[in-house]
């Protein structure tokens, strides 16, 4: 009797769970479908009209690039300074952002903060820095400072500082406090405690997050170039707006950008692997 009851209850529970799960999936799919329909309706060109044209532009690009394949290396070499600028933007912004993010994270970690009362303030600051998309700061700064790499650096650095402030403070929270206490007991100042007690523990994680951020920032810096902040994105836009006739140049820049991203991702992936799993014996 009791067993039958339990079995009955269990089956009812399972059925109800499945029903809820199924309902959720149905609602979700309905949201996706209607979302796509709305997006399609508000788009300048429709999905089904455009679908067969997706290949047209890459095809035109590739065919012109193949036709003028002799020009490609030349175009790539000419785009190299712009690529270096894009990489410099990303690297400088990552460095500055990580330095600022370290300061923010130390101020935002309970137990490590120099001024414990400012912990919530530091957290809100990094939240806001993280929330502002790079493009917003970049566009406003381009208006004030004129086009060029500096607005992009500042924009990316602010966002990076916010993002790193959060990630680093999560790392800081897992720090073993014994070395810090030991240093405190021999009379070390706050900066000595952080420098000698905390940084050696968190450095691999910081570096790993910093490298991951560098990958993200290279993409961001290319995108910001597209809206006028210099670098390879700017060259790409110029080649693109010229259209047919300069597609070989556009293709060369596409290729260069793609190769750079892949190479940096690979190197940073290997380095991160070493940082988290230790050097191969």
């Amino acid at each position: 009797m009791a067993l039958a009851e339990i079995q009955h209850d269990y089956l009812a529970l399972t059925r109800r769970r499945r029903l809820y799960g199924g309902l959720l999936v149905v609602i979700f799919v309905a949201m996706m479908v209607s979302g796509f329909r709305v997006a399609d309706a508000r788009n300048a060109g429709g999905f089904w009209q455009g679908l067969h044209q997706v290949g047209d532009f890459p095809a035109a690009l590739v065919s012109e690039a193949v036709q003028k394949s002799a020009n490609l290396p030349g175009h790539m070499i000419r785009a190299l300074p712009a690529l270096v600028e894009t990489l410099n933007i990303a690297l400088v912004a990552t460095l500055l952002g990580c330095i600022a993010g370290t300061a923010l994270s130390l101020a935002a970690t309970r137990g490590l903060a120099r001024w414990p009362r400012l912990v919530p303030v530091a957290r809100r600051v990094s939240d806001v820095c993280r929330a502002i998309p790079e493009i917003v700061i970049a566009l406003v700064l381009i208006f004030i400072l004129g086009g060029g790499p500096v607005p992009a650096v500042i924009a990316i650095a602010i966002h990076t500082a916010g993002a790193m402030g959060k990630l680093f403070s999560e790392v800081n929270e897992n720090v073993d406090l014994k070395p810090v206490e030991g240093l405190a007991s021999v009379g070390a100042t706050w900066s000595q405690r952080i420098w000698l007690g905390v940084f050696p523990q968190v450095a691999p994680n910081y570096l790993s997050y910093g490298l991951l951020r560098l990958e993200v920032n290279i993409r961001a810096s290319a995108i910001l170039g597209f809206v006028g902040a210099g670098g390879i994105g700017y060259e790409l836009r110029n080649a693109m707006t010229f259209g047919q006739g300069k597609f070989d140049q556009a293709a060369a820049i596409f290729l260069l950008l793609f190769m750079t991203i892949v190479v940096v991702d690979q190197i940073s992936g290997l380095a991160r692997n070493r940082l988290t799993h230790g050097a191969p014996a």
Partner: protein, 437 residues
């Protein structure tokens, strides 16, 4: 002996570490100096337009009303920010502008009075005296002492007088006086609305117990629809733009997850049917991730035109690569025991995946999706700026016209609030998922 060598070695290691600890900051510093030179920081100080910054700051918190005289047609118009959509009707001019025939007296406050009298404009500046501008073939300037002071910028074709109270500009075509006011103008109702010029209290009173302004509907629905269709701030269009941005992020993130999940099975070591296929799928993921949202956006907007669908598809494609990699890593970490247990009951492959694998990986997958949803809200703003859709487009347009900085500030505020809200939502859902499971 051994202690000595040990001590020696320790000291050597310590020395090396100390050198490293100094060398790394020195290297970073050297690189930053190189970057400062290559970015031409010194030249930037000269190129920086600090006056632009001042305009931006002032314009963000204030608005100006233009009193314009068309010198060719001898016609007067008063408008907010010089916008044709916000022009005061001739019989409803602000009380500081008095127009009588071809004579217009503009009171800028604090004793500053500008008078348009036909082609002659007189600006009476306290403690200085009247300045007269006469528009003929060019603009002639007459100051009380015959000198041109620093606050007047004069050339034969254009004279600009800038004071604390406002600005007067005269050219052959038109004479224009600007007066600055605190706050965002007509944020709720535009000039064409019957509710324009009412204070918040008056509107509330009209909504609660006033007579119907429009006999066809209640005052509340009138007020809401006037707010929604505000011609200057375009609240309706802004709300749509925000919705489009969220839509792009939502469709892109979850669409990518739908596409990536089955592919991730092919790329996971413990589920892949063949090594060749696994290798191929993983290279596809790498390729899609490497191509980057920027390039996808450009290619897709050629085919589909600008709009939210293009942005959503660009996010979808890029994130398929990222999700594929993350999901396949999650799948490689699943525990094989529950799957074996389900196999022992005679379950088929689909059932094994559904009941053995999905419950194990779902919390990880969902939490990753929610992380991406938040960051994609930001990406959607950026992609929108490039491909034309959502709040990103409105922001770039407002910035490129370089006059409506209060709108720029408004959009930035909305974007930041939107991203923080999405961050909060995704964090809340993630916590619920982790605790719930």
């Amino acid at each position: 002996m051994t202690t000595m060598t040990l001590q020696d070695r320790t000291i050597r290691i310590m020395d090396r570490r100390r050198r490293m600890a100094l060398a790394v900051p020195a290297l970073i510093l050297a690189y930053l100096v190189y970057a400062a030179i290559s970015f031409d920081l010194a030249g930037l100080a000269q190129r920086a337009r600090l006056d632009n910054a001042a305009v931006l700051m002032a314009d963000t918190v204030s608005h100006k009303i233009h009193v314009t005289r068309d010198n060719r047609r001898d016609a007067l118009s008063v408008s907010v920010e010089g916008s044709a959509r916000a022009t005061f009707a001739p019989d409803r001019l602000p009380d500081w502008v008095a127009a009588q025939g071809s004579r217009t007296v503009i009171d800028l406050g604090a004793g500053h009075v500008v008078t348009y009298d036909g082609p002659r404009t007189t600006y009476d500046i306290p403690d200085y005296g009247p300045v007269t501008l006469t528009v003929g073939d060019g603009v002639t300037l007459d100051t009380p002492d015959g000198q041109v002071p620093a606050f007047i910028n004069a050339s034969p074709a254009r004279v600009t007088i800038t004071t604390d109270q406002g600005r007067v500009t005269a050219t052959r075509a038109r004479t224009e006086t600007l007066r600055y006011f605190w706050g965002w103008e007509m944020f709720f109702f535009d000039l064409s609305s019957p509710l324009a010029g009412m204070s918040a209290g008056q509107v509330a009173a009209a909504v609660l117990w006033g007579d119907r302004i429009d006999p066809a509907r209640s005052n509340l629905s009138l007020a809401l629809s006037e707010f929604w269709t505000n011609d200057i701030w375009q609240h309706g269009a802004v709300a749509w733009a925000l919705f489009e941005t969220i839509l792009m992020a939502f469709l892109g993130t979850f669409g990518a997850a739908f596409v990536a999940l089955p592919l991730a099975f092919l790329a996971a070591q413990n589920f892949a049917p063949s090594r060749m296929l696994r290798f191929a799928v993983r290279r596809v993921f790498d390729f899609v991730r490497g191509v980057d949202a920027l390039i996808f956006t450009i290619i897709l907007s050629r085919a589909f035109g600008p709009g939210p669908l293009t942005g959503a598809l660009a996010i979808l494609l890029t994130d398929t690569g990222s999700f594929g990699k993350l999901f396949s890593e999650a799948l490689e970490n699943v525990d094989a025991k529950p799957i074996e247990g389900i196999r022992s009951t005679g379950a088929g492959a689909l059932q094994r995946y559904r009941f053995g694998v999905i419950p194990q990986v779902m919390p990880v997958l969902l939490s990753q999706m929610l992380y991406f949803l938040e960051s994609n809200t930001r990406s959607a703003t950026i992609i929108g700026a490039i491909t034309g859709g959502g709040i990103g487009l409105m922001l770039t347009q407002a910035i490129q016209t370089t006059q409506d900085w209060e709108k720029v500030a408004y959009y930035i505020l909305l974007i930041v609030v939107l991203v923080i809200a999405m961050d909060g939502l995704s964090g809340w859902l993630r916590r619920r998922l982790i605790r719930g499971s």
